[in-house]
């Protein structure tokens, strides 16, 4: 299994995103606690952990959708809480779980709206580099650009969601469960695209339930379990652990 090395060449030395003692709250309910980590420019970092443990809450909080306590610095600036538009405008783009496309709108409009974070001008958006790049990410979408997004298959919708996220010209792209419910072959394609984006120097935070798959393309992983975030062990340990599990018996206590 290919494990990618973090090299000085691919990642910068500055922290693009720095999180200190983050606590994510839904009303009184604490979804994530004591999260401290940072992501450097150019890195691809996975957020792993079992279902329902707070991974998506972390992603949503970073994108400004859920109220949080603690310090979140993005590009050296302290971010205001609960301001999604501010986050997009400053270069943090979320590709949410279950995609959240605009089902009755054309695919091309879906992608164009990705540009809304940095421009309100349609002509400017159409002519922009970010939009062109987003369109090129998945050439297989080209014949379907005028189709409405709701009629696409799950895999194609995921591609549109990624393209939309990319059209925001993000400094960091957070993708939440990009392979949710996708056939293996489609999931590979999506992963390939994410890896390609990272290879081009884009910083990625990838939320993924499956740690092995995540580590195929990520440099390192953060593990969220029951709301607690910690640095995950490196890939060798994970792989070994997985092999251990495959045996019929296991003692937990």
């Amino acid at each position: 299994m290919p494990i990618r090395e973090t090299t000085q060449a691919s990642t910068g030395t500055t922290d693009l995103l720095r999180v200190e003692d983050l606590k994510v709250l839904y009303g009184d309910f604490v979804a994530v606690e004591h999260a401290s980590f940072s992501v450097r420019t150019g890195e691809c970092v996975a957020v792993i952990g079992p279902n329902g443990n707070g991974k998506s809450s972390l992603a949503l909080a970073l994108a400004g959708f859920v109220s949080h306590l603690g310090k979140v610095q993005f590009g050296g600036v302290l971010v205001p809480p609960r301001r999604p538009a501010w986050m997009v405008g400053h270069g943090l783009s979320l590709v949410p779980e279950r995609r959240q496309l605009f089902p009755s709108m054309a695919v091309i409009d879906n992608i164009l709206l990705g540009c809304y974070g940095w421009t309100k001008n349609l002509r400017k958006a159409r002519a922009s580099e970010a939009f062109a790049e987003a369109l090129e990410l998945f050439p297989e979408l080209k014949p379907r650009l005028s189709q409405s997004a709701g009629t696409l298959s799950g895999g194609q919708q995921q591609m549109v969601a990624l393209a939309r996220g990319l059209a925001a010209a993000p400094k960091i792209l957070i993708t939440d469960e990009p392979c949710l419910g996708l056939a293996e072959i489609v999931a590979r394609r999506v992963y390939e695209a994410i890896k390609q984006l990272n290879d081009q120097g884009r910083t990625i935070l990838l939320v993924e339930e499956n740690p092995l798959r995540a580590l195929e393309i990520c440099h390192r992983a953060l593990r969220v379990e029951r709301g607690v975030v910690e640095e995950a062990p490196d890939a060798d340990v994970l792989e070994q652990a997985a092999n251990v599990t495959a045996r019929p018996e296991r003692s937990t206590s």
Binding site: D109, Y116, T245
Partner: protein, 970 residues
């Protein structure tokens, strides 16, 4: 031909008005899912303002228009800032449907109140912008303002359509209507869209009003009608496209003119609205995905629904005051409440004998009947429908006709009409309850327009005068006036109705209704026939309203259409919300308060619209539970303050840990004090007979008829479900035989939960068949499947958060979901339900937290509550969606033991990610990948399967990681 041409032009002229208001409504709804029912009032404000500045202050026309528009815009902006912002954002965010209807309702009242004060009650109009004789086209006439209006409507419609299509901001507006959460993902600030669109549409409406007013002329309260006409046109455009809204408005105008010309000029509005309502009821899909209730947004929307306040039980309250207050706010029992209200009102009536205020009191009593029905239907079951004033009218006119034309005694006529209203309510309700939420509210909104529009012109019903010299209910002793005598009868009847409604609310059916109000699909999945319950409350509120109407006729001795028009419906709603919609006493108090405000003397009654508007807005914003809710809060705080010792109960980690901990190490004190048996599985499931939860053991139920060990309990054949282009479940065929634990595995999004929904009936399969316990249930609704013996829990816990653990379980423990609503009058079933619930709750170890509201408890306890709720129905098939997620490894171990025990009694099917647990306890395992069933076999085949190893490796790695981290920490 010229007749046709004239009608066409007339239709286009009036259609232009509908079109412009439809346009305003659509554009706002498109961007913010908000209906501005005050849009007509903004138009009126525009016209009357310009008229005022030019006529009274002699300003030049242009200056007057400009200044007036600025004022309207400023007012709209301030309203948004002061009210809508608070209502829609932040922690005070209100339920969508409330915001959609009631805030702008009350705004409309407020504006009408203000303009009544400023502009008086005469008809005025702004000066015509283009004066002169009517234009002629091919021998047909059209007034000049109508031409401007038409041109304006078409131009703005096309302009908006173009803007939405050809600008990025326009596209973003469309997007936020399509998927609000998705729109904020790309950086759309929906709040500023809402604000500017609200202001822009108010100004636009004012412009339209200025242009249109020379044709029809406006009074201070003509706004409401205009808004309604626009609303219906917008509804037919599905609230989506501006061009379509204009077209719909014009079509409706033409249809109206044609109906008027060729069918009946008097009943044209009635006919038109009747047709439109029928269309909404039979084709609710025309409202489209735009319905604000359709968007089931994730929690990030922050629009938490906290409708029910927890039932308040101020503990250790000291002092007489506190205890009396507590009795009042907690309503007491049905008998106490009914007797208390009857006595108080009777005493007041006799005391006031002959005083002016007694007529107010009697009127309040008449409305109170309808309010009782509304408390049950709107407040308790959350079924927003606006048909009560119509049924009051049915009752009142029925009694009037029967008494004056057929000499039937009033009291007999009243009961005839109640029965009649129940039958009519059943007929109408069986259509109306096909839809719910937004469509139901919208369709019934026009009932009163239709009915009063008909009655005003019907000679049989005395046209606008109505029916006079109706007899009284009771002509008894003469030492009190007639009003008091009939009033006394009315009060006694009211007492009986209060008793009945209180019985219903405090019965098993009442519990079912509150779950129905909270979450309809969930209610259905617990075996509650939601459609029937909805119909029953519809009929109940119709019959009560008719009774109120009948009593009205029998006490006032005259009825006229204006008693029961849209204003009356609105008054009823204000009464309900101001008093407090969730409790009977709240509704009754509201009725008294509003009736007094409207008819009392002095400043308030002469400015009643204004006062009501402000009061309604404040209530919606700051005390959605109404005046009685406020009182209740005060009492609670009071008794908290006076109580000497604060009883503090640790909430932290009771629950599963308590439930299945072997020795009573945790929180043993509570359990011991409550003296309840606790479920303690014997360590190591191979040894001895386990002490099963009795609910699971089915002690009283019939022996499982699926006696054969390997009978098929659950089968799917070629089941397929598509969502748009996504195939979530793809030709899955699987068979589950006999008892025991069966597991469904697969990565996230593989279609496991969808398959569960297909089995339970929450979703219907596009293709294939589902059978349960040998019966084909492919077309069976969810509640009937539940009654067959299928229970389930959901991955995301869905409980009534403000209710206690016991309440939540008791809902499912109601002995029979088949009883009629009226059954509740005679037997409450509540005792049985709570006993059963208590049994299960205590056996699952939840006894210590049984009276706490679920929202305060930990996830584990909530999970156990949900499990208890499923078990209390004594299911034969138990479907569990990820029961272990979020639990620690040791908790999972105990859960696994519990599941194995349950598996000896029933078929357990669980969706699970913990593969170790699955292979430990499941006798058969199914693996779903990308919507297809890819593996089926027992644990050893599962362990050796190559497919499982490769496909589910990720899940395994997660477990392994967890094992290492747990090993590390302990």
């Amino acid at each position: 031909m010229t007749v046709f041409g004239d009608l066409l032009l007339a239709g286009i002229s009036s259609g232009a008005i509908y079109a412009v208001f439809a346009l305003c409504l659509t554009m706002l709804f498109r961007t913010s899912a908000l209906l501005n029912l005050a849009v007509g009032d903004f138009a009126m404000l525009g016209a009357l303002g310009v008229d005022f500045f030019t006529r009274v202050d002699h300003w030049p026309l242009a200056g007057a228009i400009a200044f007036d528009l600025v004022l309207v815009g400023l007012f709209a902006f301030l309203y948004d800032l002061a009210v809508l912002r608070t209502a829609l954002e932040g922690s005070r965010a209100r339920e969508a449907i409330l915001v959609v209807f009631f805030f702008t309702f009350s705004l409309s009242l407020f504006i009408e109140g203000v303009s009544q004060h400023l502009f008086g009650t005469d008809v005025h109009s702004a000066p015509a912008l283009w004066s002169g004789p009517a234009l002629t086209f091919w021998g047909l006439y059209m007034q000049r303002p109508a031409v401007i209006l038409l041109a304006l409507a078409i131009l703005t419609g096309l302009g908006f359509a173009g803007y939405l299509r050809f600008s990025l901001i326009g596209k973003a507006m469309v997007a936020s209507g399509d998927n609000g959460f998705g729109a904020s993902i790309v950086g759309v600030k929906q709040t500023s869209f809402r604000r500017w669109m609200f202001v822009a549409m108010a100004v636009l409406a004012a412009i339209f009003g200025i242009v249109e007013s020379p044709i029809t002329g406006y009074v201070f309260n003509s706004g409401g009608q205009l808004s309604l006409l626009g609303l219906i046109a917008a509804a037919f455009a599905g609230f989506t496209k501006p061009a379509r809204a204009v077209a719909a408005g014009l079509t409706i105008g033409i249809a109206e003119a044609m109906l008027g010309g060729y069918v009946s000029s008097q009943y044209q509005d009635t006919l038109l609205f009747a047709v439109l309502v029928a269309v909404i009821l039979f084709r609710p899909q025309i409202l489209g995905a735009a319905s604000p209730m359709a968007g089931d947004q994730p929690a990030v929307g922050g629009r938490a629904s906290r409708r029910h306040r927890p039932p308040v039980e101020p503990r250790a309250a000291n002092g007489l005051l506190a205890s009396v207050a507590r009795r009042i706010v907690n309503e007491g029992g049905p008998v106490t409440l009914a007797v208390a209200v009857t006595l108080v009102v009777l005493a007041a009536l006799l005391r006031l004998n002959g005083n002016y205020n007694d007529s107010i009191l009697v009127l309040a009593v008449c409305f109170a009947f309808a309010i009782l029905g509304m408390v049950v239907q709107i407040g308790h079951s959350n079924q927003l429908a606006f048909h009560q004033s119509v049924f009051m009218m049915v009752g009142a006119y029925g009694v009037g006709v029967l008494n004056t034309k057929y000499q039937v005694p009033v009291i007999v006529a009243v009961f005839i009409m109640v029965a009649g209203a129940a039958v009519v309510g059943m007929l109408i309700g069986s259509f109306a309850t096909r839809v719910s939420g937004f469509a139901l509210a919208l369709a019934t909104l026009f009932f009163s327009v239709i009915a009063s529009g008909y009655v005003v012109f019907a000679g049989y019903f005395g046209q606008a005068t109505g029916i006079t010299s109706i007899g009284s209910i009771w002509s008894g002793p003469s030492y009190v006036s007639t009003l008091e005598r009939s009033g006394a009868v009315a009060v006694v009847l009211l007492g009986l109705c209060i008793y009945g409604c209180a019985r219903i609310l405090r019965s098993g059916v009442g519990l079912e209704l509150s779950l129905l109000g909270e979450n309809e699909p969930m209610a259905a999945s617990l075996g509650i026939n939601t459609r029937r319950r909805k119909l029953e409350v519809f009929v109940l509120s119709a019959a009560l309203a008719a009774l109120g109407g009948g009593v009205f006729a029998g006490t006032q001795t005259l009825v006229s259409p204006s008693n029961f028009d849209q204003t009356a419906e609105l008054t009823l709603l204000i009464m309900l919300f101001v008093g407090g919609r969730a409790t009977l006493i709240g509704g009754l108090v509201g009725t008294g308060v509003i009736e007094y405000l409207q008819l009392g003397n002095g400043f308030i009654s002469s400015h009643v619209l204004l006062v009501e508007g402000v009061l309604f807005t404040l209530i919606l914003l700051y005390a959605p539970e109404g005046l009685m809710g406020v009182l209740r809060r005060i009492v609670v705080n009071l008794s908290r303050a006076t109580s000497q010792r604060a009883r503090h109960r640790p909430l932290s980690s009771v629950g599963l840990s308590v439930a299945v901990a072997g020795a009573g190490a945790t929180d043993g004190g509570h359990a011991g004090r409550l003296g309840e048996a606790r479920f303690q599985p014997v360590p190591g499931r191979t040894t001895g007979a386990p002490s099963l939860p009795a609910a699971a053991a089915r002690p009283t139920g019939p022996a499982p008829s699926a006696a054969g060990k390997d009978d098929i309990t659950l089968a799917c054949r070629g089941v397929t479900k598509r969502f748009g282009g996504v195939i979530a479940v793809n030709e899955v065929s699987l068979t589950v035989r006999g008892l025991g634990v069966h597991a469904l595995c697969g990565p996230n999004g593989a279609g496991k939960s969808t398959l569960f929904e297909l089995i339970c009936g929450g979703l219907r399969a596009d293709d294939g068949e589902v059978s349960l316990l040998g019966r084909d249930v492919t077309r069976t609704p969810a509640f009937a499947r539940a009654q067959l013996g299928v229970a389930r829990t959901l991955q995301a816990v869905r409980l009534m958060n403000s209710r206690s653990v016991l309440d939540n379980v008791a809902v499912a423990a109601v002995p029979s979901h088949q009883t009629f609503l009226t059954h509740a009058l005679f037997r409450s079933d509540l005792k049985v339900a709570y006993e059963r619930a208590w049994e299960t709750v205590s056996q699952l170890g939840l006894a210590p937290v049984a009276s706490q509201s679920v929202g305060e408890l930990t996830l584990e306890v909530q999970r156990m509550t949900e499990l208890a709720r499923a078990l209390v129905t004594r299911p034969r098939i138990l479907l569990l969606d990820e029961p272990a997620s979020g639990l620690s490894a040791s908790q999972r171990g105990r859960l696994a033991e519990l599941l194995v025990h349950l598996g000896e009694q029933m078929t357990v099917v669980l969706v699970e990610h913990d593969l170790q647990m699955v292979s430990d306890i499941a006798k058969e395992i199914f693996v779903l990948l990308d919507g297809r069933l890819e593996f089926q076999g027992d644990a050893s085949q599962f362990a050796n399967s190559q497919l499982v190893r490769t496909e589910l490796m990720g899940l395994m790695a997660n477990e392994a990681l967890e094992a290492t981290s747990e090993g590390g920490t302990t």
